[in-house]
């Protein structure tokens, strides 16, 4: 199952994705999140220490998190700001940390958190606006490393077809 979180107000991107996923019969949850109430991660560490696996911030992200833990792929569609994804997109990634535990291990040469669930979703990004694509690809690789999954890449809005080829 694929989870797609659209933090932009542009539903044309998700319409295109919906149509193509229907053709290739891929199960997907598409969440239009631009008007949802999703705050930033407050860094309380409760999801690791006090209520393992559960976020202390009770807002619309909780339902998204419940879907992410069962997903094979997580895609975030985000506007950009200052050469990066904007805060709405970043908040989706920052709030995902309940899916890893605070226990640690070495994977290859670096420390990693131990996964909470058997498998974590591979992660992909579709960005709308000016940003450094090379940096975003590097960043996505790092995100995936620390989630113990794989990066599907960072794609410009104009490259939705390429992103779709990873989904179908």
């Amino acid at each position: 199952m694929i989870v797609i979180v659209n933090t932009t107000s542009d539903e044309a991107i998700t319409d295109t994705i919906k149509q193509q996923l229907a053709v290739c019969k891929v199960e997907a949850e598409i969440i239009e999140a631009s008007n949802l109430n999703i705050g930033h991660c407050i860094g309380c560490n409760y999801c690791w220490l006090k209520t393992p696996g559960e976020c202390a911030v009770k807002d619309d992200y909780e339902e998204i998190l419940k879907k992410i833990v069962h997903a094979d792929q997580l895609w975030v569609i985000s506007d950009t700001a200052l050469g990066f994804i904007n805060h709405k997109g970043k908040n989706i990634f920052d709030r995902v940390i309940p899916i890893i535990t605070m226990n640690l291990c070495f994977k290859k040469k670096e420390m990693r958190h131990v996964k909470r669930y058997k498998k974590n979703a591979n992660v992909g990004l579709i960005f709308k606006g000016e940003a450094d694509g090379d940096f975003l690809n590097r960043w996505m690789e790092r995100v995936a490393l620390n989630l113990g999954s794989k990066s599907l890449g960072a794609f410009k809005e104009s490259e939705v077809k390429e992103a779709l080829s990873c989904m179908c």
Binding site: H40, C41, I42, G43, C44, N45, Y46, W48, L49, K50, T51, P52, G53, E54, L65, K66, V69, H70, A81, L82, G83, F84, I85, N86, H87, K90, N91, F93, D94, V96, I97, T101, M102, N103, L104, C105, F106, K109, E110, M111, V114, R116, Y117, D132, F135, R138, W139, R142, V143, N146
Partner: protein
Amino acid sequence: MHVLIINASPRVKQYSNTDKILGAFTKGLSEEGATFSQYELSDRRSWDEIRNAYYENDNILIAMPLFVECVPGILMEFLETLKSKNDGTKVSFILQGGFYEASQLRCGETYLEMLAKNLGLEYAGTLVKGGNFGIRLAEGEARDKQVEPFKEMGVEFAREGSFFSPKCKAFAGPELFPLPVRIMVGMAFKFAMPSYFTKASKAFGAKKPLNYRPYK
């Protein structure tokens, strides 16, 4: 030298590791005769004041924890409200994280240099340091000891006006641990740390094990 310091941790000041780091760092600044004013992004009521300070000061230091390999969402949200300055204002960063290896912070560091450019600010380097998760779990002298090395970096920053000196670069520590250390630390993670973390978790009031899966 006067430095505008913005603590970009989303955690409230009382529990902010970044704040404890800044506590030691600013002691070093003061020892060298530099002055500073510090603001916390976690207090949204002060954002207007911080914005004004951003426009009025020409030497800015933004300190933050690494959040999912880059800057915390709350910092992006604040920065998105600012206008580019393009007036020679300097910006430096302190980027701290939980993992010990400096390699874990390099992607975030790369972004901070890009960020300076995108804000029309003159980049004056990033002080990179990992291994800070334990600040949260320590108290009193043990905590002071953990952050104490940042005081010397405050002295260095006051003298140099940037984080480009060899001393600041070396402060990051090893990029990766050598294999024997990885084996030893890996064993500690497997056999000793889980019980330490479980103890810490219980002190927080946890009723479930650390690896609990609430959404099966």
